[in-house]
Amino acid sequence: MSGVLTLPEGCIAVVISFTTPRDACRLACVSTIFKSAADSDIVWDRFLPSDYLSAISDYVSSPTSSLLSKKELYLRACNNPLLINEGKLSFWLDKLSGKKCYMISAKELMIFWVDIPQYWKWISLPEARFPAVARLKVVCWFEIVGKINISLLSPVTTYVAYLVFKSTHDFYGFDNNQVEATVGLAGCNGQNRTVYFHPNQQGIVPGDEHGLFPKTRRDGWLESELGEFFYGDTDEEGILSMTILEIRSGNWKKGLVIQGIEIRPKNR
C-alpha cells in the first residue's frame, strides 16, 4: 500500500472502537497516531457500559473519577469491583471483553438453614469483598440458591457461574459426595452438572477438563464452576437461577466458607 494514504486519527479511533478493549491496548503499539487514537475517550466510552457509569456516580462520590480518562476509568472498573445494591452485589468489568461481571454476596443467596446458629455462622474475613461471609458449621441438607435478573448482564454473551468459597481445617463430608449444580432461567429446566468441593482432586478422577473440581483463584479463594448461561438479546427477560444441592447422601457436611456466586463471561 502507498504510504500517502493514511487515515485521519478520528477514523482510526472509530475503527478501534469497533474492536475490543484487549485489541485497543495492543493497537496502541502500532504507531504514535494509533496510540493517541487507541487511548482516546471516543474508544473507551464505547467499552464502558452506561450502567457502570451510573453505578459509579451513585456509589462513588469522589470527584477524581471525572478527572480520569475513559481508559483509566475502564481499567479501574476491571481492577476495583464496586459494591452495589446495599453492598450485596459486587460489580466489575471483564478486562478482555468489557462485559459486566457480578458476585452475589452470601447474604443475598438463599442458603438453607443459614439463620440457625448450630448449622451456619456469619463471620467477617479481611480477604472477602463483602462484610459478611457464611461459615458452614455442619448440615445434612446442603442447599444454596442464587438469583440475578438477566437484564443486568451484557447481551450476546455466554456467562459461567461459579461458587466462590474456601474450605477450612474441619472440611468434612464432601469428599466422596457429588454435589449437584443447576444453572438456568427460573421456571425452566436448567443445565445440570456435578461438582466437587474437594480441593484435592488427586486420586479421584484424572484431569479437570470439565471444570468439576475447584480451582484456586488469584484472590486466594476457591471456585467451582456451576454451569453456563447464554444471554442473547436485551428483549429477553427473566431471572437466572443457580442452585447447589447435596441432600442425597444424608451425610453430615462441614468446613466451608461461602463468599458468594460469581457470574462472568466465558473466555476462550
Binding site: 472509530v14 474492536t19 484487549r22 485489541d23
Partner: protein, 172 residues
C-alpha cells in the same frame, strides 16, 4: 437492481457529482443528500441546485459506483414497509465487502470520511475493525500501510504496559 425511482410518476431530481479525476456521476437527489458534504454545498444556495456540479476533491471515481450502490440500497431498505428481513440487509452488506481488498476498504473509508456520511463510515470502519481483531501489531501496520514511528525504547515501554493484550493472537 432496478432504480427505485424508475416507476414513480414524478421526475426525481438529479444532482451531478464530480469525482477527483473529473468523472461525472448523476445521482438522485435523496441519495446525494445522504452525504453531509454534498448537502452542505447547497445550504443557503438551494435555488442553484439544478445546474451545479458538486466537486468531490478527495473521492476517486473508482469508488463512486460502490458508494452510490450502498446508499441506493440502504435508502430503499429504510423506505420499505414492512422493513426488509435482517438477513437481506446482512446479505447485501456481506456481498458489498466480499471482493474489497484491504487497500480498497481504506480508500473507501477515506472517501466516506470526506463525504461525511455516517452510515457508510460506520459500516466500513466496523468492517476494517473485524479484519484487524486479534491480529499482531505488525499485521496491523501492514494493513493500514503505517510506519512504526516509535523509538525502540518507546515501543518496548508501551508493549510492556499492555502486555496482557498480546497472548494467543491469530496468525498473520
Amino acid at each position: 437492481m432496478a432504480s427505485s425511482s424508475s416507476s414513480s410518476s414524478t421526475q426525481v431530481k438529479k444532482i451531478t457529482l464530480k469525482a477527483a479525476d473529473g468523472k461525472h456521476f448523476e445521482v438522485e437527489e435523496p441519495v446525494a443528500m445522504e452525504m453531509e458534504t454534498v448537502k452542505s454545498f447547497f445550504v443557503g444556495n438551494e435555488d442553484a441546485m439544478k445546474d451545479m456540479v458538486v466537486p468531490l476533491l478527495n473521492v476517486s471515481s473508482e469508488h463512486m459506483p460502490a458508494i452510490l450502490d450502498f446508499y441506493r440500497n440502504h435508502s430503499e431498505f429504510r423506505k420499505r414497509t414492512p422493513p426488509p428481513p435482517a438477513e437481506e440487509v446482512k446479505a447485501f452488506n456481506e456481498a458489498f465487502l466480499e471482493n474489497k481488498s484491504d487497500e480498497q476498504l481504506m480508500e473507501m473509508i477515506m472517501a466516506a470520511n470526506f463525504l461525511n456520511t455516517k452510515e457508510l463510515l460506520n459500516f466500513l470502519t466496523e468492517a476494517a475493525a473485524n479484519r484487524i481483531k486479534n491480529k499482531s501489531v505488525e499485521y496491523v501496520r501492514a494493513f493500514f500501510g503505517i510506519e512504526n514511528d516509535f523509538t525502540p525504547e518507546e515501543e518496548a515501554r508501551i508493549r510492556a504496559e499492555n502486555e496482557w493484550a498480546f497472548d494467543g493472537l491469530d496468525e498473520d
